[in-house]
């Protein structure tokens, strides 16, 4: 039996999924990245390795998310793909017929419009990250409630207050004012859910034709308050798929399987990478006024990759070495 790994390294969480040949999710993991993507990937691989079904062999691995290049180097990925494509592929595979995907992650939010199983349109938040998961995290921490309980508390609201949702800095000061005036916690949290949804639909969802079935995925989909706010605003049922929090990783695994089917072999470096020492360092190249911050990934012996140099001097030096050896 063969399995495929999908790894989604996001700003807030790192998710790993083990998929079998029939696109069934055998195992999934959701761990916090905590600013250390390499560690998170290694920790995740260790867990998965212990729980892998007997007789299953990893035939391919794919990465996605903002840390996809970094993770791809470490595990030896067969496919390294952006998160929009990955999310869309996972959604249309796990929820056939889906036409709209709402996705809110830690640092970004996106909407994907599918027609006949193919992405027809998408949008992502612009330079600003207002109204994403990390903001909800922050507010939950400020109010001293566990993020897991956020949604349930919001559901108890009788009369949600209105909160400015255009900018998370505005939202925070507005929330503080409402709380000091004496509004109760459920009303404020429900108000925040409404504000976030309003901002999302105005900003990311602007001009998009939102048709059913609508699914809601990404880490924030765990928040029942947001789901309800979406249903209220859109007037349609919003489905939360079973593996809502690891959909990017599911897509990455499917893409890895497709890539391996084409090439015939996997470049997966094995679970041993979980124990290996990886070191990421950066230096400022002073050879020209661009002062590029070059990133270098090394294991004990070799430099595995370098990137972020505009001229390609440092990254190409590695590629050439590989050719020689």
């Amino acid at each position: 039996m063969c399995g495929y790994l999908g790894i989604d390294v996001g700003s807030v969480s790192t998710n790993i999924v083990l998929l079998d040949e029939d696109e069934r999710v055998c195992d999934s993991l959701y761990i916090r990245t905590q600013g250390q993507p390499i560690n998170a990937v290694q920790k995740g691989l260790e867990y998965i390795r212990e729980r892998i079904p007997e007789g299953m062999k990893i035939e391919g691995v794919g990465t996605t998310g903002s840390g996809r290049h970094l993770a791809g180097i470490i595990v030896g990925a067969d496919s390294v793909k952006n998160e929009i494509t990955s999310h869309a592929i996972a959604a249309s595979s796990l929820v056939p017929g889906v036409q709209t995907v709402l996705e809110i992650g830690g640092q970004d939010s996106k909407i994907i419009i599918l027609r006949n199983g193919v992405v027809a349109d998408f949008a992502m938040n612009t330079v600003c990250a207002a109204g994403t998961g990390s903001f909800l995290d922050q507010q939950a921490a400020r109010l001293n409630i566990p993020i897991e309980e956020f949604g349930d508390i919001a559901l108890k609201a009788g009369n949600p207050v209105r909160i400015a949702g255009r900018c998370s800095v505005f939202a925070e000061s507005d929330m503080i004012h409402k709380q000091q005036m004496g509004h109760n916690l459920p009303d404020i949290l429900a108000g925040l859910c409404d504000a976030l949804v309003r901002n999302y639909l105005n900003n990311v969802g602007k001009g998009k034709e939102i048709l059913e079935p609508v699914i809601f995925q990404g880490g924030v989909a765990a928040n029942i308050g947001i789901k309800q706010a979406f249903e209220k605003a859109l007037g349609v049922e919003v489905i939360i798929p079973e593996h809502y929090d690891v959909m990017g990783a599911v897509g990455a695994a499917i893409l890895a399987r497709d890539a391996v089917r084409k090439t015939g072999t996997t470049s997966f470096r094995g679970f041993e990478v979980a124990e290996e020492m990886f070191e990421a360092a950066s230096f400022e190249c002073k050879d020209c006024p661009n002062l590029c911050e070059v990133i270098e990934i090394r294991d004990r012996k070799n430099i595995l990759a370098r990137w972020n140099d505009k001229c390609g001097k440092w990254s190409n030096a590695i590629a050439e070495k590989k050719k020689i050896s």
């Binding site: 903002s66 193919v118 992405v119 027809a120 998408f122 992502m124 330079v127 001009g207 006024p289 661009n290």
Partner: protein, 328 residues
Amino acid sequence: MTVKVGIPRALLFYYYFPMWNGFFRALGADVILSSNTTKAILDKGVRQSVDDACLPVKLFFGHVLDLKDRVDYLFIPRMVSVERKEYICPKFLGLPDMIRYNVPDLPPILDVTVNVSRSEKNLFKAFAEVGRVFTSNPRTIRKAYNRGIEEQERFHRLNHLGYLPHEAIEQMGRGLLNQNHSPARQGDMTIALVGHGYNIYDSYISMNLIQKLRDMGVRVVTPDNLTGTIIEEKSAELPKKMFWTLGKRMIGSAFHYMRSDSIDGIIHVASFGCGPDSFTGEIIERHLRRRRNIPFLNLTIDEHTGEAGIITRLEAYVDMIRLRRAAQ
């Protein structure tokens, strides 16, 4: 000693450099350009400029700082209007003043006003005024002016053949003035990149957008590849005249490209905080949805140097076009 005239490689450089260059050279001056944008130039510009200016204006400051100690004059015309009954963004109008009062130790600034909103004759008058700094002979000035116009026409011809402005400027710099062939381009799809020249052709600010697209197998066309006639004709479809010249070019070209069968998608590039960009993007998107179902992407650029955001969007966009095509 020849007089050195400095031209910052920013803002309207991407639209008018050949004209300025031809004119000054014919007057016997040396034209010195600032270096290509680097992190150091951008940093200096952001530090020196007023904080609510848009990124392209801040960058202009950086180029002035890069140039000012190497030249005898800085050429910063006050561009009010370049077409009849139309205007350039107000920040361009105040550019020489902004520079003069925010940057210390400047060489003299040649800051003539170019305003053809009422009469096109004012263009010559503006150049004549600059010319008098170099010579008192009106015939020499007239000749230099004509030279500038000729160079600008050559530049436009190259643009219409398919060279992008920064490539055309490079071609002309190498003396290849009479190209008759379109540049060879590889790629399985064509995307119209609609944005201000100073945003899309400055490879540092645009995070090398054009090259990134080309590496993904995309042919790139821009508003500058179209003739003025097309821009006029198509932008006239708006119920009210768009009187910002640069915005009009974006709208006119988008309206043209959205009707063309050879175009697979339109990408709109906006500067964060640019007023006109915020509504050109909106108008283009609305018309696009009404007319034809080709994918649209809006990219906002600012000081960010992390390329992850832009790469993710471009990759997903190009993937989408390819997958859509495969499904058809």
